[in-house]
Symmetry: C2
Subunit: 331 residues, 2 copies
């Protein structure tokens, strides 16, 4: 049954207070002023991502708790991408006149999903804004700090011959998205891990901190738009890469999905999208040691001194997913 | 002629780079990573406001430059409300498939309006997110730091007998909004200052810092929803206020508008909305000195030891503007 939104801003704020602790060592004063007061380290990283109905998610197969979880997860992933740990976040919430159709309490479940992930990282929700809007949308801003070594990892710090590592796999989420788009929520029966990876990505914070703790790791980013699109951003315009990717690196459900669709699995996974894995470059001397030390790290190739990307000896397929250009497809 | 949005995310980012400097002492590394790296003071304040088409502004009388200006101005005002100065901001921008109808370059002018105000406060745009969306919307997150004395002003710090000051006037923006809603852009001919105050509010940063520099000022907030709605939030549930507001405190255009509509000017101004003035409470002993020291400060009454608000001896009218409840009316 369609549910109206809580009648007043006050009712929404009380619901938020039930789900998110209102005191925290990082936030010495409770929410409720025009700004929150934060106790900050001297170096911080900050990012923000929009998460909008029918652009980034579909109500037809995202539960409200999935929406709350994923809106925060993609933001935490940006902190992990820098080799940092998250400290807190704020939320701009666009509230449609009637909540998307759902048997339970939509807003309560959305906040519960977000609070579950926030709790895993002990993150205070520091405030933000609520507004009526024609559709559901969330803008989360998140910030964090470097680990003990104080290192912040960036893109465009590769050197020729560096080894490229991916931590967390790639291609599985694309399989999950396509299976959901084709089969709806029942896709979870056949592709449970692919669907879960799409609905509830797990940010790689511990892995990012582990990368930043090793001097041999020169840089990292998170794979949000797929290797094909993100790798050139990581390398910068002057460098290229020689990739060697085997089917053995791919998830069994990625292989099952591509087989069912008659698709070639390696280029499929290379195009990817929303993997929220970490892509890192490591000095060649230390690459084996780093790859062994970080669970889930895959060596996918090496950096070359001139532009252009090859995949298993042939020019790599282009494009990948463009969140911005492809209005129709959620991803 | 309707204009398509820039074709790619890259084109948008280049447009942003043309308008907003990409290095700053607060932002030692240029935009372009998953997060920005910020150099931070130990105490910060942070806030975020949504600014959405047909909820917070209308394309029919907001120029793109006004939209860019005001989206940032309402956020800077939250920093001013705490007696702090802004340091930087990030932007989540929802881009509709076709820009609102406008003779010039819509996006260029929107960023120019935002950059004009950002430049006044030397604020770097640190990054954010771009997404296609069915309508134009902006979510700005902003942060700042206390002035030299290190004080952060809050709500709910009033004592009985404190004097209530408003810095920057109230009621004029409501007149501007109503004149624009009734007459469209031509309302500016008859009510130039009221219309300008609605389209391009000026945050009261210097005034907020001046308030925070005086120990006798116990707290402040900004008037975003009008005195009638914001004053109870400022007082908290245990206190009330005795207000003495004369027509002499009101702007000439507020008086002209209310006269033209047959409205009583004092309750009209008390209901207000989007004044982005500062409301402060000051010890009775120092109230005159503070009011004299801060240009534009008006004494509007005193805090009482029990709840309830009187306006010139009678119970004050209730309500005021609720951004959240009133979907139809932009304000």
């Amino acid at each position: 049954m369609p549910q109206p939104a809580p009648a007043s801003e006050q009712a929404f704020l009380e619901l938020i207070d039930r789900h998110f602790p209102n005191t925290h060592r990082h936030m010495p004063v409770a929410r409720g002023d025009d700004c929150v007061h934060l106790k900050c380290p001297p170096d911080m990283v900050l990012s923000g991502d929009l998460f909008i109905q029918d652009i980034h998610f579909r109500n037809s197969y995202f539960s409200p708790a999935d929406i709350g979880w994923k809106a925060l997860a993609v933001n935490i992933s940006d902190i992990a991408a820098m080799g940092c740990k998250p400290l807190g976040f704020s939320l701009g919430l666009m509230v449609p006149p009637v909540a998307p159709d759902h048997p339970g309490d939509f807003w309560d479940e959305l906040f519960a999903g977000m609070a579950e992930l926030a709790g895993e990282y002990d993150l205070p929700l520091t405030g933000g804004d609520l507004s009526k809007a024609p559709l559901l949308g969330l803008n989360i801003t998140i910030w964090g700090q470097p680990g003990a070594q104080g290192r912040i990892l960036q893109r465009r710090h590769c050197w020729p011959d560096d080894v490229l590592l991916v931590v967390g796999g790639f291609g599985l989420v694309r399989a999950g998205l396509m299976a959901l788009e084709q089969g709806g929520p029942q896709a979870a029966e056949r592709y449970p891990q692919a669907v879960a990876a799409h609905l509830r990505p797990r940010p790689k914070v511990a892995q990012g901190l582990a990368l930043a703790a090793r001097r041999a790791v020169r840089g990292s980013m998170d794979l949000s738009d797929g290797l094909a699109q993100d790798l050139p951003r990581f390398l910068g315009p002057a460098l290229g890469a020689r990739l060697e990717i085997s089917v053995g690196m791919l998830h069994a459900e990625t292989l099952a999905w591509t087989e069912s669709q008659g698709l070639d699995p390696v280029p499929f996974a290379y195009l990817g999208g929303e993997d929220y894995a970490l892509l890192a470059c490591v000095t060649p001397e230390e690459a084996d040691a780093v790859a062994r030390a970080i669970p889930g790290a895959l060596r996918i190739g090496t950096v070359t001194s001139s532009p252009g990307i090859t995949l298993n000896g042939a020019p790599a397929p282009g494009a990948g997913f463009d969140h911005f250009a492809n209005t129709q497809d959620p991803a």
